[in-house]
Symmetry: D3
Subunit: 304 residues, 6 copies
């Protein structure tokens, strides 16, 4: 049974990014009855602390706190988010499956290359997802089988053997770099990523109506903010659900000060953006389009 | 009886400015049941065609078309809108009298000095209007009587006479430059501008909640636009109500082409801004504050 | 016989882009006796309506209306314009063959990824085309034959056969992703794209003198505009030559309103940019360099 | 005895502005042995709470907390800071008397007109103060006596009396608007503002070496910040010294929450700017000049 | 006999400004047969070296070198260029007398307040000059006589005398601040500034076609530059004609190094702007309007 | 023996780039006792004049003049600097080996694609170099051996032979495009680039503290400049060490004028940036972070 469409899909590079940038907004949307989802492009294997499995469990816990209806991770390598055709197809596939009205992407500038690349990758995937003539699965399979075949063939020759159909190639496809296939058959995560054929009915063209950019960045002026005063505490808890990221840090120290320091920073940022709009806590966003106002007497935020 | 507060007050330098920049929005607001008003800072005596009286009649006709509840003109000289203390007090006085929630000002850049100066003057008047300790009438009278006295005194001495209280000074106050009084006693326009003492009760401090900038300017990107598809024709008619401005132009020519050319330009601009937001006709505005969004799934304007 | 150099070459992603952005300028240049050309990077196979063959015929018809001396399409996949080494070589090859003085590229921002990527691809191809030591055909053949060989070898092994020189690989090269060869031998379009060796004499290094950016985009201020008042109607007809794009749209409706709506938008944009410079219709452009003025009394466009 | 030069002079419109924008920096400079001063342009008579006398006492208490060597207030009307010749002369006079190396001005944009006007007024006064041929006292006296004479003369005539030299004019000079004299002879504040002739020796031309802009404004990126982690508490206390501003606010409520709310905002801002530079609390500044770096390995603030 | 119109009028605050910003362009225009003029707003009385008379002689010598057809100075006080109604009228009067097609103003930002204020004053004067209903002489006389009368009257009263028509007021009008008259009767300079009534025929409304901004400022990107390679030496000589400015500086030192240092700086700036456009020496300008290009193959300045 | 860390590493695309952008700064840092290094990404084989060997000798001579402690070149193809995973790993490897505190990159905009791509590539390599879990050599070997194997296998099949381990592939890896290995075994340059295993100890994670951007570009305002007045002549000599670049140019002409012209341009630029900060010669830089100032009285560069 195909799942219903999402109202909002937040796409980010790493498993705790959304919790830091737009988690309050996702929770607020859930409170308004919207279905929200989170797509993490990578699985956190490059993180200094913890491993991909720890982070998956934590991500699921965080998703519950944020009341997200859907969360998955792609298998793009951590620290190597690239805007390739294959990655665009993978993200576009998720967009067709989840059919969101609004996509939240990371801001297109940032300190971490994975963040700003995820922004561009996500945008172009939204575009691809809407092309009526694009058969994503076929394109993705061509892309992957071609490389898989090359790898297999080469491996066979290298090994002095005849290639057997379906044999696992000796060289991992993952070693082929930017265009190599990284879809691991049968993995728990990829199962969700590559649904069965019956699901293909859901892969109809879909283009999100709106794309906004979450910008928890220090020196850019947001287009608008979302009041998360009522969601702030839960949003903070969703970040704290990443125990592997924060408990190691606390090892050998008093646990509370470290957590207090993190909280102080998170709070300062939320309050700073809140003050811009006259509310207590807020999350900042950018949009590229101009606004459209129906009633000028209803525009919020005091001018003077 | 003090008149009820306005929901929206549009302030502009000249009597047909509002019709060209935010007339559609005013009409739309009236359609939503809002009370709207227009303050013209000058009376059009410098216009190449027509005179102040013609333009007053035309302004009243245009206001009717735009369904404005209130329209007045100050006596600031046309071509010489200056951001003086006295002018700020005069505008602040109107803001206290009309108590608008939203003030629409001209954009702070522009070709015509009256336009960009009106923007700054209007902003600072909004600020003054909210100062609890400022008695505007007293400040305005001090300002005006001081100059009036100087003028009178000098005139008397020059004329070799004793100054008689209430006597009309021989030198018009208007000749005293930037700070000189230009309030003409008994004039039809100034009556409305200087209400009787009973009205003073309405001169309580008031600061508008919102200030937005109407920017019918070719090369600035608006913060938002207002869809005026349904108001476009009436807005155009409100501009055409300024017959003194458009009929001279037509003298000696076929009247329709001239009007057609004006209409083509007006339409191209409204359509251009409409296209930005996916509607047919729109008027562009800037605001200085960030936005505040309650539901990200309700943000209009398609992204992609 | 090598064809004479072009004065202006417009490069765009899709077959009807040039008609919407700089078609009037191309026609005006032709009227001044300049030789103009159009390079479409893709062939339109992803377009919702019509197919590549339809679009080729339409593009030729449009080129006639615009009086272009030269028009070709590359085989870059529609919806997947990427700034790869191979694509840069392909575009650089066209620049060496056509030797334009001025290259018109799409603006470097935009809604459609193909558009902004075409801008960067085109710029870097202009750079490459001027490198004296770069043998483009050799570089392109290396690039393509390497992949072709890989594909063939793999195909052979997969099929359990010995590879036969010249045999068509079983796996289409097109499936190799960003770096795969997409040159289809013997195709009508590629014939024009890959001229015979005799033409190699024309592949001398060439760098365009000037690169300008056509920017039919709603919210960017152009550096300059070109008056296309006299070319506007023909430019509109060149767009209407894409019947596959516009006639489907009209099916089941009154044909004129749809066309009228398109025309109204096209006209509003052209008029908007025209008003910026005091002419009726214009097309907007950006350039990165500062201007150089010989006579300040001859600078057009009224200031005040 | 002329007082020694100041190292830093902070100029602001209102008596508690400096405490909110650069108080921590002033205190830090004092800790480094620098002599600091504060010039408040107005005396706070328009403030909703308290009066000018209260605010003077509070300003002195705050100055002690910030360890400022010097603090004075000019008599420019609160809510009416204007960039007039007379005001420029008054500020320039203070600059010549205090001879600062660095002047801190408010940022040139802002919500409050007094703030942004103070920025321009302060800048132009720094310029005037350095003009060798400008005799500020003579210029100021001319300016003031001319108006004083006009006022007196007029007053006499109005009153039907002969003017007596030195008699106090019946019309307060303060009523003459932008250029009227507001120097009240013998007032406690003006004594400090108008030193005796012996002090004139100190009125030699002086131009500050450096002008920087304190910008506690929500949406502008600072050029640099100053780490005030060690000064943060004292800076907050200096603001709390303005009891008339903060105790009224607390009347009828639990006093602590109100103060806690103020503190939370102040802290969020300081922490936000601190995070930009990797310190706990900071104050933001803009400068117009480029920087000059002697040792690139000594540039602070981590990049990545 | 009214003098013929100017093609170009450069307006600047001080007598050697034009020589440093657009002198090469003026000379080049003269070489193309254009009539050029220079309006200096002030007379240099605040300059550290020399006096107004020296500077007048030097300005005339410099004008000869630059082959300017016309040069005058207004009587606006040096160091106090203000954008007042009176000053705007004075400059507008010059614009009507000289009727330039192009006006060159200083850039609207700068270190010296006189420079950026001159930019705004000049712009608004261009606007006023075109108002058909504005009688500049009448407006200017009203303005001046009003103040003159006030001054005279007051002076009389102060002195206990009856005012005698035409008597020289005891208080110089110059002491009245921003709006006081500074027209010195009978001065050589004011004679040129206030032509006889016969000349009034030339005071017909006139608005320049084009306003450009000379921007010899270090960190702004020009819109365009003018190649002054052939004019560079003469332009440098026109600056050196200000002996009072440069010979004092050299007193007590080797004259050549000082001059060499000035030349090195002037040359570096001219060369820097020249490099932007591929020429040896150039002067930079800004314009606010978009450009209008007739032939894209004729756009100068290499892109790549 | 592992070499000591560098204080400053300048990364540029071509062998004479550093000499033109930040050579003076490198020399100045050496004079302050800092260890400096230069990484050239390419070897200059596309240069119009000379060849890679000439340029290597010249680069070494220039490095001596600039007193650099370390200089190497990578084997990225000249004219084809791409931001690939492999190139990022190669640069990251150098960063781990040299462990610089400060990295100087080219400005992120520019005329030459190699320059702006080097900027992004260098930034992302700095990021990768700091990832604790990234084993660069393993990642690089996987990347390279995968492609090498493919190439070998294919070559074997094509040639109808059995692949022999270690045999040189018939198809140069360099032909595989953007991701192909270009590491030539045993080459003098690659020896330095690929140190023996003993050196692996030095490949610990390392992230530079500071990244700044050298911007010898005409129309961008630098964040700061470095005074190179004392280094200017030596810096110019370091550029002149590239005899292959400058002697051809002089062939058939008087050698001095050509050199004089180059010097004049270099000098004009250095002087222009020097004037911004009140010194004779300077080099311009951008940084993305805000500054952090300890003592506001010590900020250099006069404001007024």
């Amino acid at each position: 049974m195909p799942s219903p469409s999402l109202d909002v899909l937040a796409i980010a590079a790493h498993r705790d990014d959304v919790e830091q940038t737009c988690g309050g907004t996702l929770l607020k949307m859930a409170g308004l009855g919207r279905r929200t989802g989170i797509l993490d492009l990578t699985r956190g294997e490059m993180g200094t602390r913890g491993n991909a499995e720890d982070r998956q469990r934590e991500a699921e816990a965080a998703a519950k706190i944020l009341r997200a209806s859907w969360r998955e991770a792609l298998d793009i390598p951590d620290g190597r988010v690239e805007n390739t055709w294959e990655n665009r197809l993978k993200v576009a596939r998720v967009i067709r499956r989840t059919r969101p009205r609004v996509v939240i992407l990371p801001y297109w500038k940032g300190r971490h290359p994975d963040h700003y690349t995820a922004s561009k990758l996500g945008y172009e995937a939204c575009f691809l997802a809407g092309l009526a003539k694009l058969d994503i699965d076929r394109a993705l399979n061509s892309q992957q089988s071609a490389f898989s075949h090359v790898a297999s063939a080469v491996a066979s020759v290298v090994a002095g053997e005849q290639q057997t159909s379906g044999a696992k190639p000796h060289l991992s496809a993952a070693e082929f770099g930017t265009t190599g296939s990284r879809a691991l058959p049968g993995g728990a995560e990829s199962t969700r990523d590559l649904p069965a054929g019956a699901d293909t009915a859901s892969l109809m063209p879909h283009r999100p109506f709106k794309i906004i950019y979450a910008t928890l960045y220090y020196d850019v002026r947001p287009t608008f903010v979302v009041d998360i005063t009522d969601q702030f505490e839960a949003r903070f808890e969703s970040l704290m659900a990443y125990k592997s990221q924060f408990s190691d840090q606390e090892a050998g120290k008093d646990i509370f000060p470290a957590r207090a320091e993190i909280r102080a920073r998170i709070e300062a940022m939320a309050r700073f953006y809140g003050m811009m709009a006259g509310v207590t806590y807020a999350e900042p966003f950018l949009q590229k389009e101009v606004g459209l106002v129906e009633d000028v007497t209803a525009i919020p935020v005091k001018s003077i």
